[in-house]
Symmetry: C2
Subunit: 332 residues, 2 copies
Amino acid sequence: MADPVDMVELWRGPFLESVHRGHAVVCDGSGQILHAWGDPDQLIYPRSSCKMIQALPLIESGAAAAHGLRQEHLALACASHNGAAIHTDRVNAWLADLGMADANLRCGPQVPDDKDAKFALIRAHEEPCQVHNNCSGKHAGFLTFGKHMGWGPEYTEVDHPMQQEIRTTFSEVTGLETPGYGIDGCSAPNFATTVHGLACAMAFFATAQADGASAREKAAAALRDAMVAYPELVAGEGRACTELMRAMGGKVAIKTGAEAVFTAILPELGLGIALKIVDGTTRASECAIAAILVKLGVLDPEHPATRKRMNAIQYSRRGLEAGIIKPAVALA
Amino acid sequence: MADPVDMVELWRGPFLESVHRGHAVVCDGSGQILHAWGDPDQLIYPRSSCKMIQALPLIESGAAAAHGLRQEHLALACASHNGAAIHTDRVNAWLADLGMADANLRCGPQVPDDKDAKFALIRAHEEPCQVHNNCSGKHAGFLTFGKHMGWGPEYTEVDHPMQQEIRTTFSEVTGLETPGYGIDGCSAPNFATTVHGLACAMAFFATAQADGASAREKAAAALRDAMVAYPELVAGEGRACTELMRAMGGKVAIKTGAEAVFTAILPELGLGIALKIVDGTTRASECAIAAILVKLGVLDPEHPATRKRMNAIQYSRRGLEAGIIKPAVALA
């Protein structure tokens, strides 16, 4: 069991101010590790970085086709969105198509990160709805799957057949029987795996063919292609997933998760990536995934979306240069 | 040079999800270390945790007395406030007393953390002012000091006589010539020291007598007593410094700093504390300082203000219990 390695540093003036350690794995479709930092067998909660895995049964079951879900729906099912109108309008329409409404969701309300949406709520003296929750697209997918299967409404309970189906799928694509789960911010179970297991799952998404032999392979390709086609639905304007996916010109799908997890799917290289910053800080997971994507040659280190997170100048509130967030030696 | 030690853990379900490491020192007025975790000689930026040091020359110079500053002003000079009306009203009045206004500040604007103040700005379609900056009290102190001395307006420049005076004071009370500085979020220089040096300075504040022999000792006692007398001015409602100081019944002054620094002044025990979480995460510095204060017997582990930060249950957005933030073994 290797210790985590220094991955990201914050320098201020002449001195190192803060450091973030992590674990990361880059592997191919056979599970072969090409690069690893820290301990590949470190157990982690993928959190939202595995939403594409949680969405596989939605397609495999035939629910997505039966309900006429398009790429936009699938991108939202994989999304941690910022609650902007482009997200909430689509999720509301999706719920209406199901004959459902906000009250059918079980993700809980969340103040939207999107400034326009947030300010509009405040000015109207309104509270956020569940549809504003960054996971509302995933939950709309859950509701679609549950309706198709004729299951009960409490779909976030771990004993609900939906979560058991997701558990089985999760264990299969990670290549490792999950040892257990925790409750995610959206109240759904989040199944644990290793960094290597999560990277293996991402490599499966990377190598899946749209005309593949299995329903699962087709489902994985459809979700990956939807993420790449609609980067703005997967996160939102200003967000790392959206901006870095755009910077890579639609060649790579990436996904953040709470507590500083990041995954990436690289179809052209047939590779999957998973990383976890042990202290759970998002600024570090964003810098680290950017650094690994740069190392693999799929992200321009000088692109503004990259420089916003990697070798990112930190300013004082009056605009003076104060520091820099950059990859540590292991990722530089 | 000892490695940092695990200080704070986030557990979710049955598994450890995230870990924060840090350095901390508890020492007495002679600099003798009573407890240490990690490396006492680790160089850190104290950030806002040293505002009481930066305010010493304001009093020692006679500026505070000449301008009739009261305890409320001194508490604000040491504050990282949340921009609530109780803070901005007082800072605006202070600036007016100086014949100055928001434009004389050099801290830059900041969106207030206080919900009422923030929502009021949004509803009025107004931008925040410099007075909303969490450091505006410190900067009002700087302006008072500079006016008294007849110095120029660019008081945040490191070559300005004010910052040179602060540098000398800082080196003296930490017992260590500062090796350099970085630019803080409020654009003022922030001088580096060791965790032990910062703890020594806090022990000086703890042992300073109001009727002490030196002007510096009197100044230190005045600032410490002002912080303890006005906990709501040092931070604000809901904030760690305010709530934990209240929970300790006015016996201890504590102060947070950006990038997860925390200091504490314990007059009855004659002790000072400094800690730094290496990854810069505030949830961890708040939990760690609470754990050390509990260990020293000055904070009730079951007080709601403590339980909000130490052994703090984490909930999903629908209110389900999802995890806990707690001290690691070294602090438990």
